[in-house]
């Protein structure tokens, strides 16, 4: 995701979410270099879905945009209240990132909401999409 202009944002999110996998934490399901097509969820996320996550904080301490860092994981557990535990398929190469959420709830992005509720929202990776199709490599086409 390169920018948040409404039009580009909409196009990328709804029609053109092509993603290229880097890293090995989803092996053997998704390997390095595989390309997948993802889209927003039409139903509630369930255990076993492969999801795309976005970093909760817009910038890291040196000002590099975190928002452009997307992760791919599998839902391991539904904790209720739109919270999910996620994990990689490859236990040797996967770090725990804690509980993720579907809702956008954190004080850094919405300070107003934080103030009104007087409640500290934890930083959570947000589930933004579901992986539907692996379209690359050509011979390994697969729906998830």
């Amino acid at each position: 995701m390169t920018n948040f202009e409404p039009l580009n944002f909409a196009i990328w999110n709804f029609t053109d979410m092509r993603l290229k996998i880097t890293g090995h934490s989803m092996e053997p399901t998704l390997r390095q270099g595989d390309r997948v097509w993802a889209s927003f969820f039409l139903r509630k996320p369930r255990k076993g879905d492969i999801v795309i996550l976005r970093h909760p904080h817009p910038l890291d301490e040196l000002g590099t945009p975190h928002r452009e860092t997307l992760l791919v994981k599998r839902i391991a557990k539904d904790l209720g209240d739109e919270r999910y535990e996620v994990e990689g398929d490859n236990p040797n190469d996967s770090l725990n990132i804690g509980i993720t959420s579907r809702k956008e709830r954190n004080k850094f992005v919405f300070p107003l909401r934080y103030k009104i509720n007087k409640f500290v929202f934890p930083l959570r990776y947000k589930i933004i999409a579901k992986v539907h199709l692996r379209y690359w490599p050509k011979s390994d086409r697969r729906w998830f």
Binding site: M1, T2, W12, D16, M17, R18, L19, K20, I21, T22, G23, H24, S25, M26, E27, L30, Q32, R35, V36, W37, I52, E61, L62, T69, L70, L71, V72, G88, D93, S94, L95, N96, I97, L133, Y135, W136, K138, R141, W143
Partner: protein, 156 residues
């Protein structure tokens, strides 16, 4: 749905797909204190050089003044960059390498890192020989801590 996949592959020819990471952090597990040490030494050297730099006697000599300002600007730039780099490398060690089990070994771990990170900022703000020497000492101390932790990991 063959055609949909084909369409996506065709789109890829015109527009690269976005990168998505199948890991949360770089899980290479490669950590070293050397970059921070080199950066701290660079900062110290730059401070020494800046302080040793002589102001040209004649203010009207344009060439000498330009050379002087050029040197100052370049040294300050390098100092700034390396102080930032030092801070970044220290934070990587602090947040990623050192774990809770190391706290028993080094009870003042957090204070050491916190002060060292603050010294990096101080060296950006000032041209201060004491601060730069302190920074180098603090980073060397952290490097020693790192070596100790590594040695313990190997002996296990």
């Amino acid at each position: 749905m063959k055609f949909f996949a084909l369409a996506l592959r065709t789109l890829d020819a015109f527009n690269q797909p976005t990168i998505v990471y199948a890991h949360c952090d770089i899980p290479c597990g490669i950590y070293t204190a050397n970059p921070a040490q080199v950066a701290a030494k660079t900062v110290e050297t730059m401070v020494q050089k800046l302080q040793a730099l002589e102001v040209p006697a004649e203010m009207n000599d344009k060439e000498k003044m330009l050379a002087y300002h050029n040197s100052v600007a370049r040294m300050v730039h390098v100092k700034e960059e390396h102080a930032a780099l030092c801070k970044k490398e220290l934070l990587i060690l602090w947040t990623d390498y050192f774990k809770e089990e190391h706290l028993a070994m080094f009870p003042d771990l957090h204070t050491t890192f916190w002060k060292a990170a603050k010294l990096c900022s101080k060296n950006k703000q000032e041209v201060n020989a004491t601060a730069s020497a302190d920074l180098r000492k603090a980073v060397d101390e952290i490097a020693a801590m790192f070596e100790k932790a590594e040695a313990m990991k190997k002996s296990k």
